[in-house]
């Protein structure tokens, strides 16, 4: 990533995401939206998949968006963005575009990315449209009331993975969406967290600039107050612990090179990571976990880190 912003003082001051929207108090995605809109600047078109952000920001006749914005459906934001990008290209060629270098940015949740939107995402990446696709990951279908998605972590409680006597929470592991995106050989993909804003905005800007070459992807970790069952003032703390415990490593895939970013660049050595438990214990969705289950999660996390470490060496 390029360092567009070195300190907090360099960050863009102008707010391009209006307050008065209906996102939850303490919403992690709201923090992300604020910084996405500020960082991409006004010359961008936002394509939003159905989801929490979409329904809470566009209650007719009001909109929180100050950008040109379109929402079409749940599964197709990458396809819609492909069309927007192609339109700008042709209209420019024909001298019919008056807005200059307009960027195209998708904002979609984990349901709209990992699950129902995966096909159109793959198509867009394969066709190499110059679109920045931003996934805000709150690890379940929060808009419909906390149902499990392909992004929900193992053992997590959701309304469709209840903690029962026979089955306790989600049975399966979280899907490796970054791996899927990287397999498309995109110019740039990165993870980011709302707890690490400076890292996040530099990645947003880097990814945005790389759209001149092709599609870029950002996976932003956005804790969810009601879905993860933690107090609403703890959003940033939860997000920070996710990174510090190694649960959500910060890294980027820049033209085939995997680079771990601070503080995750220190975390290949397990002893440098905080115990996973510190992250889990803040959240009601993991409240039922036994020591054995936590050990299993830690084992899987270690394996994931070994995989990342190998990728980082390539």
């Amino acid at each position: 990533m390029k360092l567009y912003y070195r300190t907090l003082r360099d960050l863009p001051r102008e707010e391009l995401f209006a307050p008065g929207h209906r996102m939850c108090a303490g919403c992690g995605a709201a923090i992300a939206m604020r910084w996405i809109t500020k960082t991409v600047g006004p010359n961008a078109i936002i394509v939003n998949a159905t989801g929490c952000v979409e329904v809470t920001t566009t209650p007719y006749p009001e909109t929180a968006w100050m950008h040109p914005y379109i929402h079409v459906a749940f599964e197709n934001s990458a396809a819609v963005a492909s069309g927007v990008e192609a339109a700008i290209k042709t209209l420019k060629r024909k001298g019919m575009w008056d807005a200059g270098d307009t960027k195209v940015v998708v904002i979609a949740g984990d349901g709209g990315t990992y699950d129902i939107g995966l096909q159109s995402l793959s198509g867009m990446l394969e066709r190499r449209h110059g679109v920045l696709y931003i996934l805000y990951d709150n690890e379940a279908y929060m808009n419909t009331g906390i149902q499990r998605s392909g992004s929900t972590p193992k053992f997590a409680w959701t309304t469709t993975t209840p903690v029962g006597t026979a089955i306790r929470g989600k049975i399966q592991w979280k899907k490796d969406i970054m791996g899927i995106v990287m397999a498309h050989r995109v110019p740039y993909a990165a993870t980011a967290s709302v707890a690490y804003v400076l890292d996040m905005v530099n990645k947003i800007k880097t990814a945005l600039e790389y759209t001149a070459e092709g599609p870029t992807f950002l996976h932003i970790f956005t804790p969810c107050v009601p879905g993860w069952r933690y107090p609403e003032n703890k959003t940033v703390e939860v997000a920070r612990l996710a990174v510090e415990t190694g649960y959500f490593p910060l890294y980027e895939w820049d033209h085939g090179k995997l680079i771990l970013n601070p503080p995750s660049n220190n975390h290949i050595d397990k002893s440098r990571r905080k115990p996973l438990k510190e992250y889990l214990k803040l959240q009601g969705r993991f409240a039922h976990l036994t020591e054995e289950e936590i050990t299993e999660l830690e084992k899987e996390l270690d394996a994931y880190w070994q995989y990342l470490a190998k990728l980082a060496q390539l």
């Binding site: 006004p42 010359n43 961008a44 078109i45 394509v47 979409e54 329904v55 566009t58 209650p59 007719y60 006749p61 909109t63 968006w65 100050m66 950008h67 040109p68 914005y69 379109i70 929402h71 079409v72 459906a73 599964e75 197709n76 990458a78 396809a79 819609v80 963005a81 492909s82 069309g83 927007v84 192609a86 339109a87 700008i88 290209k89 042709t90 209209l91 060629r93 024909k94 019919m96 008056d98 807005a99 307009t102 096909q119 159109s120 793959s122 198509g123 394969e126 066709r127």
Partner: protein, 393 residues
């Protein structure tokens, strides 16, 4: 005085190719398509035009029909002139976006060589796909020749961009999509004059940011649906005006309903599409040879429904039959056009013998002889019934 008749140059084209030529003439900006039989040759031809630099457009090779329509929704919202095409399962797959495209009021034009639906899988023609899309708020034309397909695509852009509604141009899968016929092509610069670039009230542009596709509560939603009702009513008027304007410029027009020997007919067939209409004309001629005053009515503009024109055309007949090429399972009468006409008549206090013929399903051949028999049925035992014709019962 001797008249020198100009022999107009005609190309030998399938309806699919005719559509591609019309799209090129319309100077379309963005095309998104996914292959499906019998639509595919439209895309192949367009890809050739783009590859040869004859059409300055972005061709998006999407990974599904759902994405094809989604991509043209995005492109149209951005202000581009767009085109897509599909058939059968593809139209079903994109169905969700049909509703959204019309509700967002985007002037998208889509060609649909009509094809049967699975299961069992059939690549052959009928109108099950188009009829499933009839209530989605799109303007729907069903055309009957390659020439009309060409002309109607051009008319469709003018109409779509006047009333801000998407327009579907449907025709018989295979029986037209793959049939070579003579087509007179217009001078492309004249087509572009007929389709001037309009400034739309709202597009996605950072200079004039708007939000499209918001959430509407019960206090707001219904008003936008009612707007669509009004827009389709407006489209009914504008479609006729566009057809007249096109006729005066290019010498060909069709009306919203086409009739054949209806003026003095006692018995009429009402239908849509190339095969059913073409063969009905021959059947009417045959019936007239046998002393039956037979006529044919073809619905060209299917949505919005041309109630007035159809009622007027049926005014003098003693009995009529509606030949449908789709089945609405479990309906009081299984033919979709029949249902429309029955509703139109009932609402206008008209009661006449009317038979619903279901035929041509999965491209079961509609023989002229079959349609001739329908005329004799109308004469000998006029009533109200649904007849599944051409099927082994």
């Amino acid at each position: 005085m001797m008249q020198i008749q100009e022999v107009k140059h005609k190309e030998a084209l399938t309806s699919n190719y005719a559509v591609a030529y019309a799209v090129k003439a319309a100077d379309v900006d963005v095309i998104a398509v996914y292959p499906i039989t019998p639509q595919t040759t439209i895309v192949e031809k367009l890809a050739e035009f783009v590859a040869n630099g004859e059409l300055n457009a972005e061709l998006i090779h999407v990974e599904s029909e759902h994405s094809a329509l989604s991509a043209v929704v995005g492109a149209s919202a951005t202000g581009a002139r767009v085109f897509t095409a599909t058939s059968s399962q593809g139209l079903e797959y994109a169905h969700e976006i049909l509703h959204i495209a019309s509700a967002l009021r985007l002037p998208i034009v889509m060609a649909v060589p009509a094809r049967a639906l699975s299961a069992p899988i059939s690549i052959h023609g009928d109108y099950s796909d188009v009829m499933n899309a009839r209530d989605t708020g799109w303007v729907i034309y069903i055309v009957a020749s390659a020439q009309e397909a060409y002309d109607t695509i051009i008319q469709a852009y003018r109409l779509a961009e006047s009333v801000y509604l998407p327009v579907m141009v449907a025709y018989d899968g295979f029986l037209m999509s793959h049939t070579v016929e003579p087509v007179e092509l217009n001078d492309e610069s004249e087509v572009r004059k007929f389709l001037p670039r309009q400034i739309r009230p709202y597009t996605l542009n950072p200079k004039r940011p708007v939000t499209m596709g918001p959430l509407a509560s019960p206090d707001w939603y219904y008003e936008f649906k009612y707007q669509q009702v009004l827009a389709l009513r407006e489209a009914y008027k504008v479609a006729k005006e566009v057809d007249v304007a096109y006729g005066s410029k290019f010498g060909r027009s069709y009306g919203v309903v086409e009739t054949y020997k209806i003026e003095d007919a006692d018995y009429a067939l009402v239908t849509y599409g190339g095969a059913a209409y073409g063969n009905a004309r021959i059947a009417a001629d045959r019936a007239r040879e046998k002393g039956i005053a037979a006529g044919v009515i073809r619905v060209r503009l299917y949505r919005p429904f041309p109630t007035l024109e159809i009622l007027k055309a049926l005014e003098g007949v003693k009995a009529f039959a509606v030949v449908d090429r789709a089945i609405m399972f479990g309906s009081p009468a299984e033919g979709p056009l029949y249902k429309d006409i029955a509703t139109a008549m009932y609402m206008n206090g008209i009661d006449k013998p009317a038979i619903n013929i279901i035929h041509g399903i999965g491209q079961r051949t509609i023989y002229v002889e079959d349609l001739y028999k329908v005329y004799t049925m109308l004469k000998d035992r006029p009533g109200k019934e649904v007849v599944f014709m051409g099927v082994r019962i």
